[in-house]
Point group: C2
């Protein structure tokens, strides 16, 4: 396997197993371990990893262990390898705050499966999925660029966000919806004790809404503990929204009810579609100035502006050894992006591709 690029995957559950499998299928030499030795052995038997343990020469280590252990495993990987380190935990501010190293960037692939553990490992899991990276002030530009490039190799779209912004977002988009599905299911189940037919009436809509309540309860304990403030804030927002909805129904305010339902319907219809190809592309070449975090900021700004980055690489310009970020975006939004970059002090050059 000499000549192969080398990676570690620590934690071989659903996400770690999928990363290991995807990298191995792309010709990487993957090492890995798991707190469950049997699971690590199974991953090796199936060819998801080539070797057990931590490869000190790996260029990148993915930490995919349970949320509460991520910070320690990241530190372990930084100590035992000379390469870059990233993680896939569902909550980011705590781990990013606990690790201060230029070789680390936090991450969170927005993908999953109804299957659990190694048996759900799927090399195509990340294709077309959003994969958040959360660079901090201590993350080196090269770390961000290199980790982003591997994530793109796995088929995902990189969205760069500050860690606290990520945590607020997933509270609204994932954590509170999960708690709500569980609460709705609990309410229905309670009422069903009075009348057994209740749950027989549950049609497709109710099944869709409560599907995420069928996930492993244990991981949610850690998520709720790690992301408590953002979850409480989003829960407060939801409770206030439901109380307002209650008043609208109570007062038979049809105009306001229609406005709320129509707004929700429009927002649902406009949810970004996974894996759609943009139309005409434009290439934006952005010299990366000599200041920390610039490469990450190029990405983070795109996310802030709602600009989807179709592809990304860092090349070295002929004039010197500073990098140039070469970013492809939809031509329709390239002027928006260019304006934002200039406002932040970058000097982008745009070329439309035919």
């Amino acid at each position: 396997m000499s000549g192969s690029r080398r990676a570690n995957v620590l934690g071989l559950g659903l996400i770690g197993g999928s990363i290991a499998r995807a990298l191995s299928e792309r010709g990487w030499h993957v090492s890995g371990d798991d707190r469950d030795d049997g699971r690590a052995a199974t991953a090796q038997e199936r060819g998801y990893i080539a070797a057990l343990g931590v490869d000190p020469t790996a260029e990148i280590t993915f930490v995919a262990t349970p949320v509460l252990t991520v910070a320690d495993q990241v530190k372990r990987a930084l100590g035992e390898t000379s390469g870059l380190v990233t993680d896939v935990g569902s909550v980011k501010a705590a781990v990013v705050g606990a690790v201060d190293d230029p070789r680390f960037v936090g991450g969170h692939p927005m993908a999953g499966s109804e299957l659990e553990g190694l048996d759900g490992a799927d090399a195509t899991m990340f294709e077309g999925a959003v994969w958040v990276l959360t660079p901090s002030a201590s993350t080196a530009d090269e770390t961000f660029s290199a980790v982003a490039a591997v994530v793109v190799e796995l088929g995902a779209d990189v969205v760069a966000l500050p860690a606290d912004r990520h945590d607020q977002t997933v509270a609204v988009i994932s954590h509170v919806p999960h708690l709500t599905a569980a609460t709705l299911m609990g309410l229905a189940s309670e009422r069903a004790e009075e009348h057994a037919a209740l749950l027989r009436l549950a049609a497709g809509g109710f099944r869709d809404m409560t599907r995420i309540a069928s996930g492993q309860p244990n991981i949610w304990l850690d998520i709720c503990a790690e992301n408590r403030p953002a979850i409480l804030s989003a829960l407060d927002g939801l409770i206030a929204g439901l109380s307002a909805m209650r008043d609208v129904v109570d007062h038979d305010d049809r105009g306001e009810l229609l406005r709320r339902l129509a707004r929700a319907r429009d927002a649902r219809a406009n949810l970004p579609v996974r894996g759609t190809q943009p139309g005409e592309l434009a290439e934006v070449r952005i010299p990366i100035p000599d200041r920390p975090g610039a490469a990450a900021e190029v990405f983070t700004l795109a996310a802030e502006l709602g600009v989807n980055i179709a592809s990304f690489e860092v090349v070295h310009s002929v004039e010197g050894n500073r990098g140039v970020a070469v970013v492809l975006v939809d031509a329709k939004v390239v002027e928006l992006y260019r304006g934002g970059l200039m406002a932040r002090g970058y000097r982008p050059a745009v070329q439309r591709l035919s």
Copy 2:
């Protein structure tokens, strides 16, 4: 078409169109109309109905018009035909309270589609679905039995419930989940105004949870108006449940959080599966005594006890002209059902089928 059984379908939207199509494909002669003449003409062109207008000789009329017009259309059908009348509205107590006729029984098929109107009409829509019937004190036994038999012919499972019980149930299982999906979508959309990347992070769970928010807003205005007390009660239950969940997260009460999530997960896993075949069947023969509502009560009691009726017919016993309900249920629950029937004064005879 002489010799065909004859039906009317008033209102040819998604549900009415599906009923008309399913009956026509089964050889019925179906007449129908719609407040939109063009839609009625299209239904005829496509062969979903054989004739426009109301057939006064139809043995059954399905009223499938918008919720607020159902009671008037039911009265019209009772006046213009000599047959039985049922409806498919999502809220039942109002219409059942407004119509006092032995030839009427309220109904509500728990089925639908993401498609809208006649274009979504699907003859197989009701196969394996639950179809609620809500007999009242004025519904004749023969009406209930005959309508139930047609519903079974369309492939649905009949569940009999009192109208108010139906309305409380769908508030929990359908109406409040819809309002919740809209509120969650609204919250996410509001927060997305601060940061465009938020909605890009919406993965499968959020999409599942908000799918029902993509329905037609207009029908929900009527549903909320007609089922207001039950919806307010269920919303209050949900808000109380979310507030309790908030406290559990706030106090990091892992034991209670695990208990709530595990209970929801178990309840989700135990949702009745549509269209599953029961195991060994048992036949229960129940002489229908000479009192109004007895045939309906046989069904309603099964729903109360959580007993799924696999098949149902009313035959005439040799001793007289009173009917005998012949009901097939899963053999595992036949003793439960028999006990309930005896407690209500019936004299059931049970025979296990091999």
